[in-house]
Structures are given as structure tokens and as C-alpha cells.
């Protein structure tokens, strides 16, 4: 039996997971999915910023469109650090197609005109 705190949303459910990966204590199904992934292969959504030219601010927030393997976080940060966008940028616009071979895109998270 393992105790695990769900980090999928701010509710932070305290979950119990048994040896055959049965999950209890989760308020919603996302918790069970998270617990299974966390004990087999932990992943995280990475959020950061990229440089942007021609906007009111020098940085545009971005995120990975899906969680990436936790051990790749710093590699993903490096890739994000090499990007410079040019305004205008729309929410959801692709910034990197497939970041570090994860199959996951990095997308813009703010509209900057």
C-alpha cells in the first residue's frame, strides 16, 4: 500500500494505491490515472516562457500541450530557451512541434499582439 497525493488539480486528494495498482481516495478518475502513471512512469506538464519580439512584453508564456516524462524536464527547458517568437501570437499556437522526441508540442499560452 502506498500513500500518494494527487497533483492533477489543486484539490490535492490523498490517495492509497495497493500492489495491483488499485486506487482509492481519488475524487475523480484523473486521480487514478495519475497514480498509476506516477508509480510506473511519472510525467509533468512543463510551463515556462519564450522570448518574443514586437510585443508589449519581452516574454510569452508557453506550456507543453501534454505531460512529458519527468526526467526530461530540464531538456525540455533547454529547447524552450532556444526559441524566439515574433508577435502576434495566439493562444494554442504551436511553438515547437515535437519537443525532445517526446511527441508532445509546446504551445503559446497567452495572446500577445
Amino acid at each position: 500500500m502506498r500513500e500518494l497525493i494527487c497533483i492533477v488539480c489543486p484539490r490535492g486528494c490523498h490517495m492509497q494505491v495497493d500492489d495491483s495498482l488499485n486506487v482509492t481516495g481519488n475524487f475523480c478518475p484523473r486521480g487514478a490515472a495519475y497514480a498509476k502513471a506516477e508509480l510506473t512512469h511519472p510525467t509533468r506538464v512543463v510551463t515556462s516562457t519564450v522570448r518574443i519580439a514586437g510585443a508589449a512584453y519581452p516574454r510569452c508564456p508557453v506550456k507543453t500541450a501534454a505531460p512529458v516524462p519527468r526526467e526530461k524536464i530540464f531538456e525540455v527547458m533547454d529547447a524552450i530557451g532556444r526559441v524566439t517568437l515574433t508577435a502576434p501570437v495566439k493562444v494554442g499556437q504551436t511553438v515547437i512541434d515535437d519537443v525532445c522526441g517526446t511527441g508532445v508540442a509546446v504551445v503559446a499560452a497567452r495572446e500577445l499582439l
Binding site: I5, C6, I7, V8, C9, P10, R11, G12, H14, G25, R44, V45, V46, T47, S48, T49, R51, A56, Y57, P58, R59, P61, K63, R70, I73, F74, M77, V91, A109, R110, E111
Partner: protein
């Protein structure tokens, strides 16, 4: 003459204005002092917003964007770069900005949604020198996320509130070394999920029941001294640890920004440090409503949106149908409860049920939240765990208040 003026264009002001529009008001103005709408969300680039409201996990700017798009579909007027200086009890709103100069607008109702600001070092008085390199965590968040520069390389964080935790991860990802997160209380003030994904993921130690007892350095921070504290939060001599660092971030709490509210003559609640409100977010001054972090500090923006929609709908009802009627029942804080919002409920003004937000004053295990009127128990709600860092929310059916007068009590019973 406006039907409604909303002060502040953060998530609270945006949701309130949208709801007022949907409920029939047509002359609505939002006044925002910043360049953009969205409030503090624009600098909260991490994800975790919107799971309750949109059933999706969004970053702060994305969450704000959804509401800005909703607002664009209405005829609500927006004045950015404009600061509200005063709201009078007869609902004149004084404002100033480059586009309009000093201007007084009159309104039939006003919603105060100014958010909150961070406690600063002065407010907690750390001994030592006064070098550069001491920032509030929220200021550092703005520097990194919006302006694009890193305020330091070796960092100690005082306070384990959410902003501090989020910044521990953010500074780490940007290449800084976060040496420690120091919390004076025996528990963290932040959400559990942030302890896991911001500290544990990066092996950043959390020192509970510790505080910063000295800041050293001539021009720039060079060292901070951290000591263990006893039960009454006094530093214990001989427990000092010295950290070599160039930056100290303070995440020691938020205070609702209520100067305008107080000057408008609104009755305040010293515990929430916000206005005392009725079930519909109306204050003691007729026609003035308040919602979001200016009313009480929220951890989840989803609840801000829900509360603010109620304020917007109530302002519309006030303008179109006149003031709310009926005697009120006061909500008292029982054992374990540090403050509730609302503080007063008028059963006549509630259709089915009303929400009560509150915080507990320590950590509780399996417990029940009990609402009672004198000896009579009205309802109870089970919880597996309660913590001061996580705001609680209960929904009470109004029919339970039949025959109740005076006051009801909300308390915690551990089982």
C-alpha cells in the same frame, strides 16, 4: 450614469461583469489600472487553473483569456491604464488615466474587485542589514515570467505559501539553485500538490517550524541565518543554520487591497481583512458589492469566478429590482474555524442554497463540519482532512434555516 462600475479587471472583475451583463445590465464599465485585463493570472504561468470551472487544466494566462473572450462578446466597456482613486458611499467613482485624465463617473452599483497584495519584509521585521536581493515572491514572479530576468542565482525562500512554492520550481527551472524553503508554522501554508511538484520533484528541502533570523550582506544579500522556532514561534538559540545565497524571496502571505473599500465607508471583517458581506456578496453600503481576493484570499481561481458571478448577478438584481429584503442571520466561527464568507445570510434572498467559504485554524484529520443554531444541528459535512492552506466550501440548503433567528455557528468536530 453607468448601471455598474467594476473596479479591477482580474478574474473576479471579469466574471462579475459577464454575469451582470447576462442578468440584464447594459451600461457596465470595468476600470483596470494595468495595461491588460487578467490581473495576477497574467504572471501565474504555471498550470492548475480551471479544473472545476472549465474541467480542463489551464495556465493562468489561458484562464484569463477565456474570460476576456467571453467579455468581448458582451457590450461591457473597458478602461485599462486607469486607476480608481476613490469610491464614495453615494457611488461616485473617481479615476485617473492617460486616456481620460481625472474623471468622476456615477453608477447605480459598484463591484470592488481589486485583488490583494503581498505582505512585505517590513511587515514582518527580519533583523539584519538591508541589502539588495530581498524580494516578495510575487515580484520575483513578475520579473521572471513577464519581464524575463532572473533576480538571483542562489535562493532561500521564506514562507511556504503557494507563490513561494511555485517560485521555488520556477527559479530552479530557470537555472537558479533554491537552497531551502523555510516555514515558521509546523505545516505548509500552500496546497499539497505544490509541495509535491515544486519542492519534492526538485529535492528542495522544506524546513517547517523554522524562520529566517538574520539577513547578512553589505550591498547584496550574502547569507541568511535560519533557526528552528519553539511552539510560540520564538527562535531557539543554538539551532542556527547559515545559507550562502544572493536572494531571499518572501512568501509570507497576501493582504486584500481594501483602501478604497474602507474609504467608501464599508464595514470590514478584521479576520478576513475584507468587507463584511451578505450571501450575495453585498457589503454594508447599499449598491456596493465585493468579490475575489479583495474579499478574502482564495487559493483557487475557480472559486473566485463562481463567487464573482454571484456578485455580478446580485448587482444586476439590485439595479433592476431594488435592494434585497429580509432579516439577516449572522454566521459565527465555532471551534476550528477562523473566518467565514459570507458573514451574514438573508434567507429571504436565497433561492435554494447558499455557499459558505471558510478556513480552519489548524490541520484536522477525519472530521465533520457542523452547522448549528444554538442546540439544534442543521447539517454536517464529512471531510477526510482539513488544512489552513486549503479553503473549504460548503453548500447549505436554505430550508434548513426555517425558524432560525439571530445566528448560526460553523464548527469542526474531529472524529
Amino acid at each position: 450614469m453607468y448601471e455598474l462600475i467594476v473596479v479591477g479587471g482580474g478574474p473576479a472583475g471579469l466574471a462579475a461583469a459577464c454575469a451582470a451583463w447576462e442578468n440584464g445590465l447594459r451600461r457596465i464599465l470595468i476600470v483596470e489600472r494595468d495595461r491588460d485585463l487578467g490581473g495576477i493570472l497574467n504572471q501565474c504561468i504555471h498550470n492548475g487553473f480551471g479544473l472545476t470551472w472549465f474541467k480542463e487544466e489551464l495556465t493562468g494566462p489561458e484562464y484569463a483569456h477565456r474570460f476576456i473572450e467571453m467579455l468581448a462578446k458582451t457590450g461591457v466597456e473597458v478602461r485599462t491604464d486607469t486607476m480608481v482613486l476613490d469610491v464614495t458611499p453615494d457611488l461616485q467613482v473617481h479615476m485617473t488615466g492617460p486616456a481620460t485624465g481625472y474623471k468622476i463617473e456615477r453608477a447605480k452599483s459598484v463591484i470592488l474587485a481589486m485583488g490583494c497584495r503581498e505582505r512585505t519584509r517590513g511587515a514582518i521585521g527580519i533583523p539584519g542589514t538591508r541589502p539588495a536581493g530581498v524580494y516578495t515572491a510575487g515580484a520575483a514572479q513578475r520579473y521572471v515570467n513577464v519581464e524575463g530576468w532572473l533576480p538571483g542565482k542562489r535562493v532561500v525562500i521564506l514562507g511556504s505559501g503557494d507563490i513561494g512554492l511555485i517560485m521555488a520550481r520556477r527559479m530552479t527551472l530557470e537555472g537558479a539553485k533554491v537552497l531551502a524553503c523555510v516555514e515558521v508554522m509546523p505545516y505548509s501554508g500552500g496546497l499539497t500538490r505544490n509541495i509535491v511538484q515544486c519542492l519534492q520533484d526538485f529535492d528542495i528541502p522544506l524546513y517547517l517550524s523554522h524562520t529566517v533570523t538574520e539577513i547578512r550582506g553589505k550591498d547584496r544579500v550574502e547569507q541568511v541565518v535560519v533557526s528552528r522556532v519553539d511552539e510560540s514561534r520564538r527562535p531557539i538559540p543554538g539551532t542556527e543554520m547559515v545559507f550562502d545565497c544572493d536572494t531571499l524571496l518572501l512568501s509570507v502571505g497576501l493582504i486584500p487591497e481594501n483602501e478604497l473599500t474602507e474609504r467608501a465607508g464599508v464595514v470590514m471583517d478584521p479576520r478576513t481583512k475584507g468587507a463584511l458581506v451578505y450571501e450575495n456578496m453585498e457589503t454594508s453600503v447599499p449598491g456596493i458589492f465585493t468579490c475575489g481576493n479583495v474579499t478574502h484570499v482564495h487559493d483557487l481561481v475557480d472559486f473566485v469566478s463562481a463567487e464573482s458571478r454571484r456578485a455580478g448577478a446580485a448587482a444586476a438584481k439590485y439595479v433592476l429590482h431594488g435592494p434585497a429584503a429580509g432579516e439577516y442571520i449572522a454566521l459565527k466561527n465555532g471551534f476550528g474555524v477562523s473566518c467565514t464568507v459570507p458573514q451574514r445570510v438573508r434567507p429571504q434572498n436565497v433561492e435554494k442554497s447558499f455557499n459558505v467559504f471558510f478556513r480552519v485554524n489548524r490541520i484536522f484529520g477525519k472530521s465533520e463540519i457542523v452547522v448549528s443554531a444554538g442546540e439544534r444541528e442543521l447539517c454536517r459535512f464529512k471531510r477526510d482532512r482539513l488544512a489552513p492552506g486549503e479553503m473549504e466550501n460548503i453548500t447549505v440548503p436554505v430550508k434548513l434555516l426555517e425558524g432560525v433567528a439571530g445566528e448560526i455557528t460553523v464548527e469542526i468536530r474531529e472524529v
